[in-house]
Amino acid sequence: MIDTKTLTIKEASEKMRKGEMSSFDLVSSCLDLIKEKNSKLNIFLEIFEDALEQAKRADEMLKEGKGGTLCGIPIAVKDNILIEGRINSSGSKMLENYRASYDAFVIKRLKESGAVLVGRTNMDEFAMGSSTENSAYGAVKNPLDTSRVPGGSSGGSAGAVSGGMALGALGSDTGGSIRQPASFCGVVGMKPTYGGISRSGLTAMSSSLDVIGPFAKTAEDAEIIFDCIKGRDEMDSTSIDLNDLENENRKVIGVPRDFLKEGVDKEVLQNFEESIEKLKKKGYKIVDISLPYSKYSLAVYYIIMPAEVSTNLSRLDGIRYGLRTEGENVFDTYKKTRSCGFGVETRRRIMLGTYVLSHGYYDAYYNKAWKVRRAIMKEYDDVFKNVDFVMTPTTPTPAFRFGAKSSPVEMYLSDIFTVSANLAGLPSISIPSGIGSEGLPFGTLFTTRQKSDKMLFSIEKDLK
């Protein structure tokens, strides 16, 4: 039995290349853990029945010296990333029986490298949520404390890595959906520059914000996954190539102190200050910065995102694929299908998006939000002339209890630090930075210039 809760991708990959470990044994260990824990944690919606077959093929590839660094490594995949021939439900009843007709770009890359896809992970419906309580298939429990949420929307992927059920995972991040659950589950979660990883085969939620990214135990492991799946893809016209060069001398960190004045847990702040001290000792220069427009990020986000959600999800009408609930006529079929298929949060955001895009409100909400978004982008451009990273806690509190957030706005506020990187299209990473008095992990968030994603992976070693 291999201890998959501590083993890193780097170590496993080296051992497998040397013939000291087989993918078959490694994947078996993960599957054993999944079988033991999944009924309680609800992390996986499906365990792929051919996982061990994939592992055997990876072992062959390893013997022949083929495959990439991820060859033989068990990876979990969020349920909104298409794998050909497999169910892809996006955590929704709407797509309960939908089978993907092609592989997402990232899946193609993982398959080419010889990675073993172990299963699809639970998530908030259509990636809308911060706790994974919005899944149509039941909430996910945090493997570190089952009375707490794992964060969301990629709570299943974060939990899978944290619980040793896979050595790495893919998630998607629209407003914090990789970094916030990574922080809650004590793992690394990274959101690339917008377009840095192809969205081809990612179920669209909010197309100007959505990105795919990796989860892993260490930044080094996250980088291995990132390197495998990044880059331009002709099937996604917004995808771009990123800068490869990493400049080790970039050591100026900006801290937006205004953001930390209210609403942040005392222990989170204390942990944040400790992280700053560690980085100072490693030669980083810490400066105060001001981001006056970015304090409106969450408000801007809750206009632009639902607007895009309402248009993107209009394709789900029961006609071409997914659920169909027959009505008396075609319009009645649309309505019945969408009312049966969509959960509460999804309907809420569709309604909100329909409102902000409707005649009479469009200028006041949607157009104004885009103007402020532009100002936020420019503000970050200016800040990055003087600093290399912007640093905040990943979340205002550690993982909260189930049902702790009584209103939608209260729930939305848990993305307050993560969301501006999505609006400005910036790469951003959450790195575990310690454990609090209640045994829950803290995460620290680093954001950097567009296309300089590679810079994010080197900070972790200086935080220790």
Binding site: K335, R338, S339, Y365
Partner: protein, 90 residues
């Protein structure tokens, strides 16, 4: 926001809502709009918004696609002779 606004929106969004759902959505949307309203106070340049999008062209040539017609057909909720079947519209 009034209940009749919620009804109007649900018609646009093609959602059937019962009275309890309407009331709770009215409360939720009011709460969210109250929060996002803060962007009203932001002073920004009133210049025309530039969207950073450009068309990506490709040669119009036939390329092999990964997915098969059969896989897509198999996802139709209802079909006949390879066509999607829907209720009559007119």
């Amino acid at each position: 926001m009034e209940i009749k606004d919620i009804e109007n929106l649900s018609e646009l969004a093609k959602l059937d809502l019962n009275d309890i759902e309407k009331e709770s959505l009215q409360k939720d949307l009011d709460g969210i709009l109250d929060y996002v309203k803060q962007i009203e106070e932001v002073k920004v340049d009133e210049e025309e918004i530039q969207y950073p999008l450009k068309n990506i062209w490709r040669e119009d040539e036939e390329k092999k696609k990964d997915f098969s017609r059969e896989q897509i057909l198999s996802q139709f909720p209802d079909s006949q002779d390879g066509f999607i079947k829907v209720k009559k519209i007119l």
